[in-house]
């Protein structure tokens, strides 16, 4: 009896010591972590193998992945912008499915600044002021060539940063399909209100 008493007392005290590590800053205890943690480099983990310990490396310059979109090699200059506008054409044609997909992507990546309807009234505010974003329907943008749009999403334009790392080239074209459709709808509604 006395032995049971002693053993349970000791294990209890020992376990209490273990549980004392209830700290939000620490993930907690691991039993045999060799089964959990691989010596291979896990995504985003630092590694001494690489410069600055960054293991998330960009692809080697000039490599092209299979199926990668390669139709875009304009330099990030004013000339490149004009050339892209003159030469690039959207490889997709609008279908209801593609427009729905474009809308989904537009709502994720564009709408908070450019507005749900593309009028430049996004919901992001800075000290109660809306972001200075142009409307898709103003004089400079209502007939903007698709190539220039693609260029702007890829490299960024004025305050807008490059979204190339977030939106794949195919998705960029699908978003442009949707924006062109928004502009078409807006122009149609303008003419109907004007004729009324």
């Amino acid at each position: 009896m006395k032995r049971i008493y002693n053993i349970s007392f000791l294990t209890g005290a020992g376990l209490m010591l273990l549980s004392a590590c209830g700290d939000k800053q620490s993930p907690g205890l691991e039993y045999m972590p060799d089964m959990y943690r691989t010596p291979a480099i896990v995504a985003y983990s630092p590694s001494t193998v690489y410069k600055d310990s960054v293991s998330a490396l960009p692809p080697v310059t000039g490599t092209v992945a299979r199926g990668q979109y390669v139709d875009f090699n304009y330099p990030n200059t004013n000339e490149g912008y004009e050339a892209a506008g003159a030469e690039l054409k959207n490889p997709f044609t609008p279908t209801p499915e593609l427009l729905a997909y474009g809308k989904e992507e537009f709502m994720t990546y564009c709408a908070h600044c450019h507005g749900e309807h593309g009028d430049g009234n996004g919901w992001l505010k800075i000290k109660g002021d809306k972001f200075p974003v142009p409307s898709y329907f103003d004089e400079t943008h209502k007939d903007l060539p698709e190539g220039k749009m693609f260029f702007s999403i890829t490299y960024g334009k004025n305050l807008m940063g490059s979204h190339a790392s977030q939106v794949s080239p195919e998705d960029r074209w699908k978003i442009i399909l949707y924006i062109k459709n928004l502009q078409k709808e807006h122009a149609a509604s303008e003419t109907t209100t004007a004729s009324n």
Binding site: G28, A43, I126
Partner: protein, 414 residues
């Protein structure tokens, strides 16, 4: 006679007053217009004191002639092409960015220039209101600490009082015994006194020990169960990034930053260029002012106009971490399964500091696979499989993930 003079005076001053009023109103209307036109046309690229895309406009009406400014605003490229020295210098300084031609009338341009002139003469506003909440937060923290200090101080004072009173009592007892001729007891050591007390209270000690034993065993059992489970792990990150502010209050889509979640195995920790999509323009936050945003600039070696070469990765601390023996793919769950991020990650849009919401244990995965229906509608991939499943389980049966192999070992372990 007198009366007429006074009336005349009143009439005259009335006129003057009205004149002044009209002047004041028209002047403020003029400034208002200038601000409105500036907000609509110029603000995307210009500010008064800071570089946004184009140069700051403070005192621009003093630096250049009115004629030159009108030409520049209407068509800057014609000036540059004509070889105007100032125009070429600005064009080169701002990386050859073309300022779009502004379709404004001369009067409108004058209104904008007038407003810029007024704003230029105002002193730049100090960042006091933004810093204020931070300092009050610090004061609050100090206040919290001070109550704790007070409690400790009171306890120490009470203990000191108790000790003194005990000493006095002992002294008095000694004096009484001395006076009445009773022999003084042998002094007992503290340890001996303790032992004596334990001998005298065996039952109480036993009860306390039994309670402690039960409690520590129960607590220990749960501790053992928690080994390798990191629920509620909430590490402090190198930058005080708040998901509540970004995803909750500002309603930025989860996928905007974690753009890999529907495309790849990993949900992506956004690289700092994604931060800069907004923070090129947003230079102050509501809680920490520019303190935290400056850390992004430091990581990118951003000086306000361009990135430098001395860039350093931001070392975020990983919160969710599956053991290497289990394979998990985000895109499978987000794109095909159409599972909300919050199903596994909890209400991240309400968390200032992200914590692990779900246990991420195998039992938890399996449980969800048993309960979740597969979204077979509108997914051509499932057309054939769905027919087979309908034949096997009946037409109206719920097709859950476990029915299409979601419980197979090799689904996650290989």
């Amino acid at each position: 006679m007198h009366k007429t003079i006074i009336n005349d005076l009143i009439a005259k001053s009335k006129g003057l007053f009205i004149l002044l009023l009209v002047l004041a109103v028209s002047m403020s209307a003029y400034a208002q217009d200038g601000k409105a036109i500036f907000d609509a046309n110029c603000k995307m690229c210009h500010a008064i004191n800071d570089v946004v895309i184009g140069p700051p406009l403070k005192g621009v009406d003093q630096k250049f002639s009115k004629d030159w400014l009108h030409k520049w605003i209407k068509n800057s490229q014609s000036l540059v092409k004509a070889g105007d020295k100032d125009a070429v210098a600005i064009f080169k300084e701002y990386n050859q960015l073309v300022m779009p031609n502004q379709n404004l009338s001369d009067a409108e341009i004058d209104a904008v220039l007038g407003w810029i002139h007024e704003e230029s003469n105002k002193a730049p506003v100090a960042a006091a209101p933004v810093g204020a909440p931070a300092t009050s937060g610090a004061a609050e923290a100090a206040k919290d600490n001070s109550t704790l200090y007070w409690v400790i101080a009171i306890i120490i004072i009470l203990l000191a009082l108790l000790a003194t009173l005990g000493k006095i009592k002992k002294g008095l007892e000694y004096a009484v015994r001395d006076k009445e001729g009773i022999p003084q007891p042998q002094p007992v050591s503290g340890w001996q006194a303790c032992k004596n007390w334990i001998r005298g209270n065996k039952k109480l000690i036993a009860v306390i020990l039994v309670i402690f034993m039960i409690w520590s065993n129960v607590k220990g059992w749960y501790t053992l169960k928690d080994i390798g489970v990191y629920t509620n792990y909430q590490p402090e990150q190198p930058i005080h990034f708040s998901h509540k502010l970004h995803a909750g209050d500002n309603k930025i889509a989860c996928l905007y930053c974690h753009s890999g979640a529907d495309k790849s195995r990993h949900a992506n920790i956004p690289s700092a260029n994604v931060c800069m999509n907004c923070h090129k323009y947003v230079k102050e936050g509501p809680v920490y002012g520019d303190q935290e945003i400056k850390k992004i600039y430091a990581a990118l070696d951003w000086d306000g106009t361009k990135y430098g070469s001395n860039q350093k990765p931001i070392q975020w601390i990983r919160v969710h971490s599956l053991p290497a023996l289990a394979y998990f793919n985000h895109s499978q769950h987000v794109k095909v399964g159409k599972i909300e991020c919050q199903t596994c990650h909890g209400p991240v849009q309400e968390m200032d500091v992200v914590k692990q919401f779900s246990p991420l244990t195998m039992g938890w995965c399996i449980n969800c696979h048993r309960e979740t229906e597969v979204k077979v509608d509108g997914n051509a991939y499932y057309d054939g499989i769905h027919k087979d499943l309908a034949a096997k389980y009946g037409k109206d049966a719920k097709i859950t993930v476990d029915k299409i192999g979601g419980l197979d070992c090799e689904r996650c372990h290989y």
